[in-house]
Symmetry: C2
Subunit: 142 residues, 2 copies
């Protein structure tokens, strides 16, 4: 398991390799995403970094999130609720979401390759990925 600073350094390298520049704001957003397990929304990132960057605009958050997504550093999670969440944990894992408090918890499970294969067989698609989430009530909300 790589340490947090280690993952940050690798992410910065990967970003720079795509030709983008490192700005303090960009660095802070990336660092925050890599440090948290909370799958924050754009607005939550905005609020979390407000004290360090009182002048940062939401547009900067969104611009950078798009950039990170394109670089393969974060995943966008679109659940039923109003806003997207962002996950910088790119390892194979799935999410379980509490219907009551909205908490998102990671859990490990072997990738569902056989579902992808069966879907490809039945539909004629060329499959590249899948997504799965489980819903329920977390321990506190039961």
């Amino acid at each position: 398991m790589a340490t947090a600073p280690d993952r940050l350094r690798k992410a910065v390298e990967k970003l720079k390799a795509t030709g983008v520049r490192m700005t303090p704001q960009r660095h802070a957003i990336l660092e925050y995403l890599l440090s948290t397990m909370s799958h924050p929304t754009a607005d939550e990132i905005y609020k979390a970094l407000e004290k360090d960057f009182p002048n940062m605009s939401v547009a900067t958050i969104y611009n950078n999130l798009r950039l990170f997504k394109e670089a393969g550093l974060v995943r966008e999670l679109t659940y039923g609720d109003s806003s997207s969440r962002f996950d910088a944990n790119m390892s194979d894992h799935y999410h379980i979401i509490c219907r009551r408090c909205g908490k998102i918890t990671d859990f490990e499970y072997p990738p569902l390759i056989e579902v992808e294969e069966e879907a490809a067989r039945k539909t004629g698609f060329r499959v590249d990925s899948h997504r799965m989430e489980v819903y329920g009530l977390c321990a506190e909300c039961q």
Copy 2:
């Protein structure tokens, strides 16, 4: 396999049992949802029914979709794209989505019960459901 008019009749019954009234607009929206495999957005439903109901408002579409959802007649699909899609096929099935043209195709696969069980075991959640989609390129887009 039930016929389309048959499913419509059953759906109307189920709705009426919840105490709502049947209006021509409501009936048309429901009929359209049950007749198509295309998982339409609210706006697509709006456009499809425009010729029959030139004065129908989008609010009516949204009101009814919420009602249908609460009655368990349709499912709301929230993928990454900007707007929700609605699926009146309530049988156990999963979706495969084309990254290029956005087409959504149903495919059957045994429900992933064991994933739910494992998630519950690992996280302490009480699980009630899950959601899964496969992504790729459809036969035409490859």
